[in-house]
């Protein structure tokens, strides 16, 4: 299960968004991977996500594998689309 989504918040994927992304991803048992700029990173690692260095308008592909993969991808795409506002 995977989906591509664009980062819309002004500051890009730095500390606050990365923390919220990992918090959400960690609610699921599935593994989560984020791909962008030719790199693939663990979606449950704050440092890995920040190392993608993603700015506003970057596109990321979120892939999940496991029992709740579909729900995980939907929830994470929703979080990114809502500019990480809870």
């Amino acid at each position: 299960m995977e989906k591509t989504v664009r980062i819309l918040n002004e500051e890009g994927l730095h500390a606050r968004p990365a923390g919220l992304f990992v918090k959400k991803a960690s609610e699921f048992v599935s593994t989560v991977e984020v791909r962008a700029n030719g790199m693939a990173k663990n979606g449950k690692s704050i440092m890995a996500l920040m190392s993608l260095g993603l700015a506003k308008d970057a596109e990321i592909t979120i892939t999940a594998k496991g029992a709740d993969a579909s729900a995980a991808v939907e929830a994470l795409v929703d979080l990114v689309a809502k500019k990480f506002q809870l």
Partner: protein, 168 residues
């Protein structure tokens, strides 16, 4: 081999203990006093914060630079046992878009404790960001067994401030 190594041996618990020193001088604060719900709520990990009285940031332990964000306000570090540490200068400083920040390191660089990582204009940050309070957090909580804050009040750059017991 150090005296410490001789006393405890390579497999001893001492090998899993790491002390982070203050990367900059100022007032040492628990994370709960950081004026940001994400850091105060430990969403980015556990650690400590410093309200700085200077604009020079040094390596808090022997480490490697994992990430320097393009706006220069935060540096990610990796160290022994896969420990990951984020030094984030000020709150909401991503919005300063790099103005006032001069990173002195690049990704992949190896650092010794006390090596200069970043210079920043403290007055500019104070005037333009939400806060100068600088959280230093361990972002991979799975790597950590326990943490102990050492001391309180005003600390100098290089003072020991956090004892970390790693899981591996």
């Amino acid at each position: 081999m150090s005296v410490f190594g001789k006393l405890f041996g390579k497999s001893g618990e001492s090998d899993k203990t790491l002390v982070l020193s203050a990367p900059l001088g100022g007032r040492l604060l628990p994370l709960s006093e950081v004026p940001d719900d994400i850091f105060a709520g430990k969403v980015l990990g556990d650690g400590f914060a410093i309200e700085p009285n200077e604009g020079l940031v040094v390596a808090p332990f022997d480490c490697q630079v994992a990430q320097v964000f393009r706006t220069g306000h935060a540096i990610g570090l990796t160290g022994p046992g896969g420990l990951e540490v984020l030094v984030h200068v000020g709150i909401d400083t991503v919005k300063l878009a790099g103005v006032g920040f001069k990173p002195r390191v690049s990704e992949g660089q190896k650092l010794r404790t006390g090596d200069v990582m970043l210079e920043f204009d403290l007055e500019h940050v104070r005037a333009n960001a939400k806060s100068t309070v600088t959280p230093i957090v361990i972002t991979n909580r799975d790597a950590v067994g326990s943490l102990e804050l050492l001391g309180s009040g005003t600390v100098k750059r290089g003072d020991p401030v956090l004892r970390v017991l790693r899981k591996s």
